[in-house]
Amino acid sequence: MLFAGAVYLFYQWQAGARPLDPVAVGQIVLAASFAGLDDQPQPLEQWRGKVLVVNFWATWCAPCREEIPGFIKFQDQYGARGVQFVGLAIDGKERVGPYAREIGINYPVLLGGLQSMDFARQVGNSRGVLPFTVVIDRKGSVVTTKIGVLRPEKLESLLKPLL
């Protein structure tokens, strides 16, 4: 018991060592702009006021592909209630376009390129890995960041209170 307590405290302490300000990080995200599949710049600012889910992914990332069908379903289900998914692909346009068409991604897909991993690190992805998802509330502050696959049940419990 003592040991479990010690370990718990240790992790609390570690987690507290790198605090991220949800408002500041939200500003960083909303200030960013990436090219869409049609090469037009798409500032994220345009989705301010929505419950914004930014998902960093790539076609070469198997775990990313695993969670995308769930996102498509959520976009269908909650889109009318103000939820907006945005996929930020760390990948080439020649692969992203066909993939998005094939599995029917129903939300905007932007091309981040490798440079956007620096952006991902800024918003809390300390190891620069994929998949990585940031959820921003209607006021523009970060509610959660998730490294790794976001399970539907977890996503649902995150989004429900924000609607």
Binding site: F3, A4, F10, A58, W60, A62, Q115, L130, P131
Partner: protein, 599 residues
């Protein structure tokens, strides 16, 4: 031993549960450690040490060189393991320590040095991928020297931070390996906890009489502060000895732990334990040789506060006495410290573990001996009890080395003698105190168990758990044993997995001395629900009783210390991570695990 295994497993579970929140990930250059060297003027070796729990995609490797007059052929990489990918179909992946030999050609003017550009991409089993990374190495052609990777050239390479333990990549990812992905202090804290748990085992008991021997001469004058200081000196002496063992383990690698499995070493420890036990029974008084004692006394008298120095030395010597008792769990710990190859880490970890073990001793000291009841005839009882425990440890240590009948007879004898010491055969005096009745009860149980064991072994039973099963006769319906296909080395195992032809595979590590294995055979594998599920699988068993080199290699391949351990493979022959069964599992739980394997 079994409780110790259990404790270790619990400890690891705790460590893992605590980090369930956010995945603990290595920096990419630690997950995929890159280096390159020239083997010959026309051959370049590129090496990736892939950390346990991580893998790399074969088709994602690209190798190039600057200047362009140097060309590398990266098209002939060795085949990898097949991994199913629902989008790309079957892809090949690499794990562990990968070395590629690339043919190298030079056109035009030979250059003395060139830059290797290696692009690669990999993922972690927990379900994240790293972006493609480009790593560079400067290769000097004169003298074919090793080239260190040049850090910071790729936007994805962060400069290395901290002294993270360097994991050898041969072992697959296990809970224990996970532990070593954590930071230095996480590991040290875990070992402290491990030490605390060890303090609950009988291993620390021999230290209590020693410590009381130190405290008692102070009699009434012993203050709490002095008691604490004395016991602290004692514990520090012990801890520093362990720290040395840890440093040695870190530097020697796995040599030490394999030494602890050596029959001669085990026998030697068993003899030490028997000798210690005999002293507990009062056959002789255990003390340092008088010459050494007087020299110590002279030295310590010269020193100011010299008593602390001698207490410190006593602590160091005690560590040697207790060492063999904690050998089994220690071997596991040392094995992994050895894999880290880090002396500082090893030293710090074992120092912390010894401090954890010393906590009860510190409590005894701080209480100024109050927690140690005053000397009296009861001490003799306690000493005899410790003697019994020590003899039990001795039997346990050598039982893997002997035919089953010998340890069984020894256990029977021990139980019966123990019963006699508890006055199981003496009549209780009228109005005997409650504890006497309790002791007598325990003694009678011990006597019956010993007699049952003795009858069992003499009637031909070799089963420590069911000594009388032979007397049941034909009336008892013998449950059909699971038919295991035996494998005794890695190549047999790989062959058997290859022949499994789309069936999941269960690999059970077994040894004659492994009580849990026998419990599993007797209670779990015989269950109809379990049997039904096992029928859909290929069941392999590795009997590692003889502890041959091939057996050790098998255990090492799956990073197990020894049986019990059950490893599952999916229909493609890949190990299913996180589904291992270590320790006893009742039939319903085990069936649920088999369902996971089958689906």
């Amino acid at each position: 031993m079994l409780p110790l295994r259990l404790i270790l497993a619990m400890l690891l579970l705790l460590a893992c549960a605590a980090r369930a929140g956010e995945p603990e990930l290595l920096e990419p250059e630690k997950a995929f450690r890159f280096s390159a060297r020239l083997l010959a003027p026309d051959r370049l070796e590129v090496r990736y040490e892939i950390a346990p729990g991580y893998y790399m995609y074969r088709e994602k490797f690209r190798f190039g060189a600057e200047p362009a007059s140097v060309t590398l052929d990266g098209s002939q990489l060795p085949p990898g393991k097949i991994k199913k990918d629902e989008f790309f179909g079957d892809v090949q992946i690499y794990r562990g320590d990968m070395r590629f030999v690339l043919p190298l050609r030079m056109t035009g003017e030979p250059v003395p040095r060139f830059t290797l550009n290696a692009t690669s991409q990999g993922c972690a089993d927990i379900g994240v991928c790293y972006p493609p990374q480009e790593q560079k190495a400067e290769i000097t052609r004169t003298g074919f020297s090793t080239a260190a990777p040049v850090a910071g050239l790729s936007p994805f390479l962060q400069p290395a931070t901290g002294a993270a333990p360097r994991g050898k990549p041969q072992s697959e990812d296990t809970l224990i390996a996970e532990l070593f992905k954590g930071s230095f202090w996480t590991l040290v804290a875990s070992f402290f906890g491990f030490g605390l748990l060890l303090a609950l085992t009988p291993c620390v008991f021999p230290m209590i009489p020693i410590l009381s021997g130190i405290l008692v001469p102070h009699g009434e004058h012993l203050t709490h502060a002095r008691g604490f200081a004395l016991s602290l000196a004692y514990v520090l002496g012990m801890a520093i000895t362990y720290a040395f063992a840890g440093v040695a383990a870190g530097l020697l690698g796995t040599l030490l732990s394999s030494a602890l499995q050596n029959p001669w070493v085990l026998s030697g420890f068993a003899v030490v334990f028997v000798l210690l036990a005999l002293s507990m029974f009062g056959f002789y008084e255990l003390q340092l040789p008088s010459a050494l004692q007087s020299r110590l006394a002279v030295t310590t008298n010269k020193l100011h506060g010299g008593h602390f120095a001698s207490v410190f030395v006593m602590g160091a010597l005690s560590a040697l006495i207790v060492g063999p008792c904690v050998a089994a769990p220690l071997a596991g710990a040392l094995l992994y410290i050895g894999q880290s190859g880090d002396g500082v880490l090893g030293g710090a970890a074992l120092f912390a573990m010894a401090l954890g073990m010393g906590v009860p001793l510190l409590a005894v000291g701080a209480s100024a001996g109050a927690l140690l009841p005053k000397a009296g005839p009861w001490m003799e009882t306690v000493k005899r009890f410790f003697g019994m425990v020590l003899l039990g440890v001795a039997i346990y240590l050598v039982s893997p080395l002997l035919p089953a009948v010998v340890p069984m007879l020894a256990w029977a004898a021990l139980l019966i003698v123990f019963a006699v010491y508890l006055h199981a055969l003496d009549p209780l005096p009228h109005g005997a105190p409650g504890y006497r009745k309790l002791f007598k009860g325990v003694g009678v149980i011990s006597l019956l168990a010993g007699v049952a064991l003795l009858i069992g072994v003499l009637s031909g039973s070799r089963d420590l758990l069911q000594p009388l099963s032979g007397l049941r006769g034909a009336a008892a319906p013998a449950a059909q044993p699971v038919l295991f296909q035996r494998v005794s080395d890695l190549s047999q195992l790989e062959g058997a997995i290859a022949r499994a032809a789309g069936k999941p595979v269960m690999l059970d590590f077994y040894a004659d001395w492994c009580v849990t294995c026998k419990e599993m055979e007797a209670f779990t594998f015989t269950d109809p629900a379990v049997r039904k599920r096992l029928d859909g699988m290929v069941t392999l068993q590795a009997d590692v009783t003889a502890n041959l080199d091939a057996h050790k290699a098998l255990l090492k391949r799956y990073a197990l210390f020894g049986p019990p351990g059950i490893v599952f493979f999916d229909r493609q022959g890949n190990e299913i991570k996180g589904l291992r069964v270590i320790g006893f599992q009742p039939a319903d739980k085990f069936a649920a695990i088999l369902d996971l394997v089958l689906n």
